[in-house]
Point group: D2
Chain length 403, copies 4
């Protein structure tokens, strides 16, 4: 058992952290209202990030990335997560990052050439169309979007939302039912759809917690209306949609958790700084209040223990694969999301009125990371799934909804 | 002991509720992005509200109001609170309502003629300048804004923020230190400042949780720069600023609490409706999930008990006055704010992705009512004050910060 | 709406409170290890209680009681609840009190003469046999104990536990299945069984949270082994067992809640006293700690709001009957139990090591009132039932287990 | 970073676990009422433990122990903690274990021969007298017990309580003020007092949460009344009492935390087993309830993350010493205690009425481990200390009580 970080990783993290402070944090003010306003500056920072050898930590060198293993990338993800702009500037922003991953794992050589290479280079953008407004995201096998084969084409029909980055994407990867009559987990396939395909209709950017957003910081509603793409646009095999989604989501949850811990650290730091600087009476800092001290202490313990739990899950994925670590992934997903929400809440309370304003990143975190308990499987689903697996060892079999 | 609502009040509440559903809720969609977009429609609804005899429930008939007592108005406040637009349409929106109250109690006849009458009629708008960016709102006696007498004028200097409605207001009531050398609670006075006075500078609308807002739904930063007003603009006596603020805030907290309970009921209703309509599998509503049932049950108990606590405080104010009910007011302020936050949070979780969008009022409640635990005294101050009063009966005297 | 207590009730409560302090609290030390050690002294206090006109507040005068209505008795119950000995000394201790109630409502004249009269006078003792070790108490219609009619006798077989006071009782009222093939809620009947009946076997007093207890403060396991009683011992009609149990439990839950609030007040008072007296440094009381102040404030708000919720439920029972107040009763049951546990927990923490000892009543409350969230329907059942009723208004019907 | 357990440690833990199940759990029933009843059987099990080579894991081989390092012993501590009897049977029970540790570190050769050797062999028993009834344990430098030098003797006067195992101990180590006028942390010394010394008066065993206890499972009040011991009985140097106590408490907290995690695992296992076996309706196990599933999932995540936090602290102690790991120790102390209380509480609720009885170890855990948040520094002190250290980095210095 060894809790130390290897010196070379420590060094890398320090460089990444320094880059964040020098190049990323200063862009936040401009991005606060809308990512659009900071886009150009972010893109310039991307070039500096490439020059600094910090681009695309998760991608193999042949795609211009750093080729970090899973656990080291988890460490990176925390550093980048401290700013809403970090992952974008470093070339590993959702949903592009997840799309790169599945294109890399399941794409044909042609698909990789056409889509993955420019995506990894940051030259094009992508989106991922899975969630539907009419169906509960907590039951991902139940969807209405269909892709029917017609000659050499898939004809896709349906409506998706929370298709992040949809309004600027060059292509979408869409989940659609291709075999409605088979077992639920084999009904859907993933298909690549260039966004200029007729029948791909961008309905609207959803206004989310007060923001329309822009680019990957936006979430679109998309209508697929007799949208036709070549059969070769199938990603992986027919009926593998759900399996690929799992491959995408499992490790993705680790990255989310690490990003949340980055947010926690940022909020924690702001909370402590505010507690130290703000006076409640002459000569008496806010941090002299015992209740605030206790929030600081509780946050410290919660963040640190949650981080270890995430590390351990990442370590297990590295050694035994995503499937073996399913329980661990479920546990960190809801556990870290809970820590995140509590820490942000305390940091806002310590900031008082200022915490309500958009003068600090806390408001952005508070508003947009409320979704942490919802996306990629709500808390309730992960808890149920974890408990079901545990109870199986005690001899009882429960359905996926727990009863 | 009697928990019934008198029939005539019940009838009034029903009429108010029906007006809300018919005239106010439909305006919400337009107001979602900015109150500005719904302003004209809201003003038309105000006229219908006057015509329906529901205008300004808290004001005496001579000012065009309904002349309700304190407890009945608390009941009304819950009904109106169900929509972010309710209080505006009914003519009892903060900060105008509070300003009406103190002008009515402490204003001279001239002041009442010039400011109160048109304010009560909804013809002009006002704001209240108390909180300062450089000083903790939790210690209201510590402020930097000063008003120095120079001949027949007050010369005001300082910076305020969270001056709600400041960008459209016709006049401000500003708290400023007039006697810096006396005992803390007697240092400040309240002064009426027309917003077209030279030296009243509107710095900016603060962006709050993603919204610039508009009108009373906005919060401004104001600079007072050698701003001169006649000495007659003093509200009440010199040095009474803090006392008047208490008179304003005490009952105001009841109204906030009742408004929050209105929000709770709206969110609760949406949560139950969503749990009933949304299917997680064919034929299986979300509300079949035991965890969601428990959120519903816990919310019901928490809302109902909090409401009774607020009623009791209002009842005590009606009988014994604000000062006698100080403990009760402190208790409801933090207790109801906590219930509010929990109920909104649960309602969002039940809505899943939809709860994150601005397609429902939940996002607005979640974002803007996070401030409930901060404004008018943060939870921490109210808890400390309440405990201090209780412990005094046990023989120990503690300073206002609790140690 | 009126939150005042009528002067005559106030006066009564004051007298009861004074009696508690003078006559009951002093008996606690002796009773701490086992109620047995204080029994004689308690019985003497009972006589003084009768002499003071405070005996059996809930019983009609013809049975020697005070004949209080439901809401006034709820008030009394809080006063008596402050000590584990209160209800016994005042002649309204569970399970005797509940048995008196159902004998009064459903007993024949003969049954009342033989069992109710001496029970109300405190001359005999009783117990109530419902819960079974082999069946979940949360599903009361599922029980294994049977009563089969054989000529003029019921032949009872089965095993019960948590039969409070079973080892000293003169008679038991036992729930047994008499019509196994009918609809679940009509299967059982209640039958009076003198404890000297052959086949009534007292197996053991359960050791509960460290105490064997004694008398009503003990909980027995009872075996019914071909236990025969006359058919006339049926209480009410055949198949009415469940209905009578509901009649017994509904109002009983109010009394439990009020008793818990009495415990809360006692613990709250001890917490404040300790915070005032205990020094953490010379001249610095424990209560100067902000965290402790906040526990005090939160406890105050939680207790007061919970009490109002219980009052309202009692008021509704008084006006509309138990059935109409079912939702309110479910809500207070879990809500007040939660408040109870939190307040006791805080009081113990404030007492530090002393709180762990049996030198104060806190340990007894902590240990034995953990059951508050379990008996008379665990929290989970009450929440599910309440939510189910609420959701029915939204158009969905859910089974009793919620799914 | 490596989360694996070395194979040889895994093997050892498995052997220890097997010994627990075969030799220790079966003794629990007898020990439930009082450890006294199981003493002889426990002592026999100790001999088998020695024979199995599992005795005194923390002691060096020259004292008959296994000589485990700190982190391996932490692992052992979790296994032993699953039963209230584990540490006793394995020869590493508090307070003996802590006394061995400080005698080993600070004792003279004579002291070690006389006290440590037989103690490590399990031939004699000891106690540790620090906490005083009249002084807050949260401020350990403030004590009233004094040791005044008189010739070749210390004359000790004062009153202690929570002197665990005091009624059977052969010697006590007592903290007493020897230099009242120096700086607070240097006022006290530790002195060895044979319990047959005149003036060592055993006042009583405290009744703790319903149990008088016996041996180390008991906590005594001790009066030191002109109690004289030779000056050579000083442990370490004069004025080093507090420092030695810190050396004893720091690692001791790790052991407590690991023991708590052992309890958590035991309670978790019982919770899952009960959820699987108990039916709430025919064919429907309790574990089909979603709320119970969520308790299981939350417990799993909380236990696992807390354990990693404790491991990390132990790992740091191993590498950098106790002082360097002070923050980590404070964090785990309150964090793990909180997890412990929540897990036990959930396990009891899942057990329903059975959870209230002493038929399972849950009641013992619930009652006696409530103290986990109090002893060795209450939560509140550890939180304050941790926050103070953190805030120091932000430039503010706060007193030890946080204000």
């Amino acid at each position: 058992m060894d809790f130390s970080t290897p010196p070379e990783l420590q060094d890398l993290l320090q460089r990444a952290g320094a880059f964040m402070e020098a190049e990323v944090y200063p862009l936040e003010d401009a991005a606060r209202e809308s990512f659009e306003d900071a886009l150009e500056a972010c893109n310039e920072a991307r070039e500096r990030c490439k020059a600094a050898g910090l681009w695309a930590p998760q991608m193999p060198p042949e795609y211009g990335g750093m080729g970090l293993g899973f656990l080291p990338h988890a460490h990176m993800s925390e550093i980048l997560g401290r700013s809403p702009l970090g992952h974008y500037v470093f070339g590993c922003q959702a949903p592009d990052a997840g799309n790169m991953e599945i294109l890399h794992k399941f794409g044909t050589a042609e698909q990789q050439d056409r889509w993955l290479r420019p995506l990894a280079a940051g030259q094009i953008r992508s989106c991922f169309s899975m969630t539907e407004p009419g169906r509960a995201g907590s039951n991902p096998t139940w969807m209405d979007t269909t892709a029917v084969r017609d000659g050499n084409e898939w004809v896709i029909n349906g409506r998706k939302w929370f298709t992040s980055g949809g309004h600027l994407a060059d292509f979408a990867i869409v989940m659609a039912v291709t075999s409605p009559d088979t077992t639920p987990h084999k009904r859907a396939s993933q298909i690549i759809v260039p966004t200029d395909t007729p029948g791909f209709r961008h309905v609207r950017r959803l206004s989310i917690m007060g923001d329309l957003g822009y680019g990957w910081q936006s979430h679109s509603e998309i209508a697929y209306e007799d949208c036709r793409v070549p059969v070769d646009n199938l990603l992986g095999q027919e009926g593998f949609g759900f399996m690929i989604a799992q491959e995408r989501l499992g490790p993705g949850r680790i990255h989310h958790c690490m990003r949340w811990l980055g947010i926690c650290e940022r909020a924690f730091d702001m909370m402590c700084a505010r507690a130290s600087e703000r006076l409640i009476a002459p000569g008496r800092p806010l941090g002299s209040q015992q209740v605030i001290q206790h929030w600081i202490a509780e946050s410290r313990a919660e963040i640190d223990s949650a981080r270890l739990l995430v590390y351990q899950a990442a370590w297990k994925i590295d050694r035994e694969g995503t499937r073996a670590a399913r329980n661990e992934i479920s546990a960190i997903k809801f556990h870290a999301a809970g820590v995140l929400q509590r820490v942000i809440d305390r940091a806002i309370q310590v900031h008082g009125g200022l915490g309500m304003t958009d003068d600090t990143p806390l408001s952005w975190f508070f508003r947009h990371e409320r979704a942490a308990r919802i996306y990629d499987g709500p808390d309730e689903v992960h808890k149920t799934v974890l408990a079901r697996t545990i109870l199986k060892k005690y001899g009882i079999e429960l359905g996926s909804q727990g009863s």
